[in-house]
């Protein structure tokens, strides 16, 4: 069993004990994976985002039942997502029972979020490695926008360039990363 596996299993155990920071780390680490899977299965960014949110809500509720001996955290989450998708298809609407149980209000999905999906699905462990190989101007732009979750306005201010140029750099950086990952 590798150290990442141990660490993530421990994080899930801590979620069960009410550790919000542990949840945030699992969410940050696995959102790209769950979102990418959901998008591949549904072909719709809004539905995929909705499904990912429900998956993490269900994972939160089921965190005490996670057993590392039965698979990695990633496998566990995709299993939850698959079940949620199956239920959603039966009901012809995205399943939201886990979020309702937690009393969460629905979150509005905006046009900005469509672009955010593309950014997030570009992120995973391999992507971070590729990020380091980008030219500094592109790497900084992608890091600020995607890893630090800064707005384009903030990215532009940080890099001392126009917002338009900041957007172009992020876009080029992500495209280069995708080519490197798929090539």
């Amino acid at each position: 069993m590798g150290s990442d596996w141990d660490r993530d299993a421990e994080l899930v155990a801590r979620i069960g004990r009410g550790d919000a920071a542990a949840f945030e780390r699992v969410y940050d680490r696995y959102l790209p994976l769950v979102l990418r899977w959901s998008l591949r299965e549904t072909g719709n960014r809004e539905v995929a985002s909705d499904l990912a949110a429900e998956t993490f809500a269900a994972a939160l509720l089921a965190s005490r039942r996670y057993r590392p001996s039965k698979g990695t955290v990633g496998t566990w989450l995709i299993g939850i997502a698959r079940n949620k998708l199956r239920e959603s298809r039966r009901a012809q609407r995205v399943e939201d029972s886990a979020r309702r149980r937690l009393g969460l209000e629905p979150v509005v999905f905006t046009d900005e979020d469509f672009a955010r999906v593309e950014e997030l699905i570009s992120l995973d462990g391999a992507a971070v490695g590729v990020l380091e190989t980008l030219p500094p101007t592109l790497r900084d732009a992608v890091s600020l926008r995607v890893l630090d979750e800064r707005s384009y306005e903030e990215v532009a201010r940080e890099l001392r360039c126009s917002e338009l140029l900041a957007r172009q750099r992020v876009s080029r950086g992500l495209r280069t990363m995708r080519s490197a990952l798929e090539g």
């Binding site: 979620i15 004990r17 009410g18 919000a20 920071a21 949840f23 945030e24 969410y27 940050d28 959102l31 998008l39 591949r40 299965e41 549904t42 072909g43 719709n44 809004e46 539905v47 995929a48 985002s49 909705d50 499904l51 949110a53 993490f56 809500a57 939160l60 509720l61 089921a62 005490r64 959603s88 298809r89 039966r90 012809q92 609407r93 995205v94 399943e95 939201d96 029972s97 886990a98 979020r99 309702r100 149980r101 937690l102 009393g103 969460l104 209000e105 629905p106 979150v107 509005v108 999905f109 905006t110 900005e112 979020d113 955010r116 997030l120 979750e149 707005s151 903030e154 080519s179 798929e182």
Partner: protein
Amino acid sequence: MMSDYFSTVRSELAAAVEQRAHLPWWRRVRLAHGRTLAVVFAALVIASPGVAAVSGLFSQGQPNPTGPVSAGVMNGIVRAGDSRLLPIKVADLQGGPPWGLRVVSTTRGETCVQVGRVQDGQLGSLGIADAWNNDHKFHAISPSATARQACGATDAVGHGFGTSGILGASDSASGSAYWLATPPALSGPAASGCKLAGDRGGAPASWPTCPAGSNRIIFYGLLGPDAVSVTYRTPSGGLATERTVRGVGAYLLVFPYNRTTCAEYTRGSSVYRGCFGYIGSTTPGPMMPGAIAEVRYTHGRSCELSGRAQPCPAVGWVLFKVKHVSREQVATAVHVRVFPAGSYGCPNKLGIGCQGIQFESPSRQVPIEWTFAARVAVTNSRTSYGWNLQVPNGCGPVGKTFPPTFATSFGTDSNIRAGQTLRYSTFLPPSCHGTYRLTVQFNAQTTDEPNDALGGGSGGPWNPIPIGKASFTIR
């Protein structure tokens, strides 16, 4: 920090983790099982954002009907366990279940590829764009629902080779453009669909015109076990590269259907005209319209299409051990019988095969029937019996003296037992007098290279061996 959908979900869920930590254990358990009255109540007032975005979700509908299939005819049937949904998924431009491929191996030695939408590990079509009466459901396609043209060449160990395209495909993965890739349903809701504005003859006239933006150009295929990637032309004129599926070399490209893409992806083809229907060949080549610019294989090998006169080779093809058949082994007597003009038409009441020949006025034709005993068995699609009819000098051409559908040659398309008596017939115009010469052939694969025939075929090239001759006169 920006506050987008994902960061909001993150903070709300994190807050929920903390709140739960302060609940008594029995309350946490009840929350996890979702049985509290308060939660049920909440369900009535909270509308999920997913309600407005159901386009990606399709409930299960009835499966596509499968036409009559037989283990020994045409493609044969799918061998048990030889149907595999490939790990390749391509998002559609308008969302919904992704596009995918399934490979099947059949009892007649064919390797066939099916294309459609993928949901819950199944390949199927959707009830949209006037298909399935717009029921907005997912309809699974049977692995046996494969037309002949969807089957490419197959080598000695079962590697499939074939490149296909569907120009003007409906995003329902159903409809007239698929009819050469997947046998059409003849009745019921599965037979519904839409047609392209320029479709003349491919779809029933009663079908409505496809909704704007609902058509696609799809290229897919198997490039063999050694293929690593395909580089293809994008609609904007650039180049992009996709990895192929390991072991089979599968690729799948889905583009919008419009003037630009039609012009781009039919450019340079001297064979195909227009931008509609199914196209196929064994390997990518200059005659075949498509998007592929280059195929890369293991060990640094590649095939670039630009400026190439010949199709790409079938890299990775495993040679057959060809069993050569001598003329003596297959020689047989051929008996011909000439019936009076108009004694039967097609379909007929005599139980004589019509071979798909249709005549406008069969009553005026002269039926010809011939029989012979097959000495060598046919057990796969790489071998067949056939015939060739030489008409008298001065007769013809087809379409004038002979009906437009008249064929001067034909090959069998089913398994045949050694010793089985075969009986075939055709119809000749009474006005074409003279001596006809009939040659019956055994079509055996005589080399072990893949053929390059457009459309189906499992091997080749074939070398017809004449096994019997007969002549007759119409006065």
